[in-house]
Symmetry: C2
Subunit: 220 residues, 2 copies
DNA sequence: CTATGTGAACAGCTTCACAGCG
DNA sequence: CGCTGTGAAGCTGTTCACATAG
C-alpha cells in the first residue's frame, strides 16, 4: 500500500530522475540500478529506492529498473503523460524570452497563448514563438473554458503580480509559475511555484561570502 | 555564540524576509514583530525569531525589530551590502532576456558582461542592456581577474552546459546560477543554484493531477 | 550474488513553551 | 504587559540494515 503522505522533496527528485532517465534512454540503456541513478544526482541508493517505492514496486530485484518503463511511470505520476496547455501572462522582457524559450515544450507543456494588459502590446506577434499574438486579460476565462488551459506562467512586475494572479485564478487557472519576487496569496486549490532570481543569486552570494572572505566576520 | 551550522532553508527565508522588509521600509514602517513578519510569509513567529537569532540578537524585547537595521543586517549576512559583478554566459533566447531583465540589478548584482561561444554572436550588442557586447569565452579569465567577476549566470543548451561550466570554473568563477536542465558537476568550493523551468512546471503538474481527482487513479 | 523494498534508527528542521528584558 | 531569544519536545525526511526475490 502507498503512504498517504509523500514528502515534497521526493516529488522534486522525481523530476530529476526523469531527466536523467531520458538521457539514459537516449543512450539506449535498458536498465539502471538505484545506485547508478543516485550517484549522478549525489543521492544515496536508498533515497532513490524509497522515492520510487512511494508510488509502486517499479523495480526488479537483481536487475534494477527498466529505463523505458520507469520513464513512463514517472511521467504518469507527474502528470506529464498528457500535454498541459499553458498561458503566459506578461509580455515584458522576461515574458518574451520565456515565450521564445523552448526548453519545456517537448516535456509535456505547450504554450498556447500570451496575455498582457498593456494596450500597446495587445495584437503584437511575438517572434520566435509559433506566431502567438498577445491577447488582453479578458481572454483568460475563454482560454480556460474553451481551450483547456489550466496552468499559467506569471511574468509581470512585482507591483501588479498579486492583482494579475487574482485575475488568473478568477478565470479558473489552477497552477501558477510565478516569476515575480512576491509571495502570492492564493486559495488552497491553486498551486504556486516560485522562481525568484534575486533569491537564488542571494543564496550564491551567501555561500561565496562565507567561503571566500572573512575580513569582517561579524560580532564578538 | 552562534551555531556552527545554519540550516539551508533558513538562508532561503532570509531572502524572503529581506524582500518583505524592503516593502515595509518603502511604507515608512519603523519596526516589525516576528509575528507580523511571519504571517505574510506563512511562517510561525518562532521560525522567524530562530532564523534571525542564528546570526545575532537583532531584536528588541517589547518592541520587535527595527526595519532599517534589520535590512542592513540581512544584506550584510547575505553579502549583498556590496555589489556582485556577474557575467552572463549564453546569449540565446533565455540569455538575451536575462540580460534585459532588470529584476536583480538593484539588489546588489550588476551584469557586467555577456559571453557566448557562437562566432556569429560575438561582437553583437544586446538591446535593452547597457550596451553590453557579446564576448568570446576566452574573455572569461580576464573578467574574473581584472574586472572582479565572481558569479556567472549559465544560460546555454543542456548539451554543452557542463563543458561551459568547466570553462567558467577554470577561469575562477565561484558561483553559478544554472538555467540548463542538467546537474552540474563542480568542485566543493564552487556554489551552484539551479533554476529548472521543466522541474517547476512538473511540480505544478503533479499538484494539479492529484488535486483534480481523476479517471485513472493509479496502478492495480 | 545482485539489487529491490522497507521497518527501524538517525538527523535535521520546526514548533512549543518559557525565562528574561524593556 | 509585549516581544525576543532559546533549550526541549516533536515531527519530517534521510540513511541504515536486512529480509526477500530473481
Amino acid at each position: 500500500m502507498k503512504p498517504s503522505h509523500i514528502p515534497a522533496p521526493a516529488i522534486k527528485r522525481l523530476s530529476l530522475y526523469l531527466r536523467h532517465l531520458e538521457a539514459c534512454h537516449a543512450r539506449a540503456e535498458q536498465t539502471i540500478s538505484s545506485r547508478q541513478l543516485g550517484e549522478t544526482l549525489n543521492l544515496t541508493d536508498a533515497q532513490v529506492r524509497k522515492d520510487l517505492a512511494y508510488f509502486g514496486p517499479f523495480g526488479h530485484p537483481g536487475i534494477g529498473y527498466r529505463v523505458k518503463d520507469l520513464i513512463a511511470q514517472i511521467r504518469r505520476i507527474l502528470g506529464t503523460d498528457r500535454t498541459w496547455k499553458v498561458v503566459l501572462v506578461g509580455a515584458g522582457n522576461l515574458g518574451r524570452a520565456l515565450a521564445a524559450y523552448r526548453g519545456f515544450v517537448a516535456k509535456g507543456f505547450e504554450l498556447v497563448a500570451v496575455v498582457d494588459s498593456d494596450e500597446a502590446k495587445i495584437g503584437q506577434t511575438l517572434p520566435g514563438s509559433d506566431s502567438l499574438t498577445v491577447l488582453p486579460p479578458s481572454a483568460l476565462p475563454d482560454l480556460v473554458e474553451h481551450d483547456g488551459v489550466r496552468m499559467g506562467i506569471l511574468a509581470v512586475p512585482a507591483a501588479c503580480a498579486q492583482q494579475v494572479a487574482d485575475q488568473m485564478i478568477a478565470a479558473g487557472i489552477k497552477g501558477i509559475l510565478n516569476f515575480a519576487p512576491v509571495m502570492l496569496n492564493v486559495p488552497d486549490d491553486v498551486g504556486v511555484a516560485g522562481v525568484d532570481l534575486a533569491v537564488h543569486l542571494e543564496q550564491l552570494s551567501f555561500r561565496l561570502r562565507v567561503a571566500s572572505d572573512e575580513d569582517a566576520p561579524d560580532d564578538s
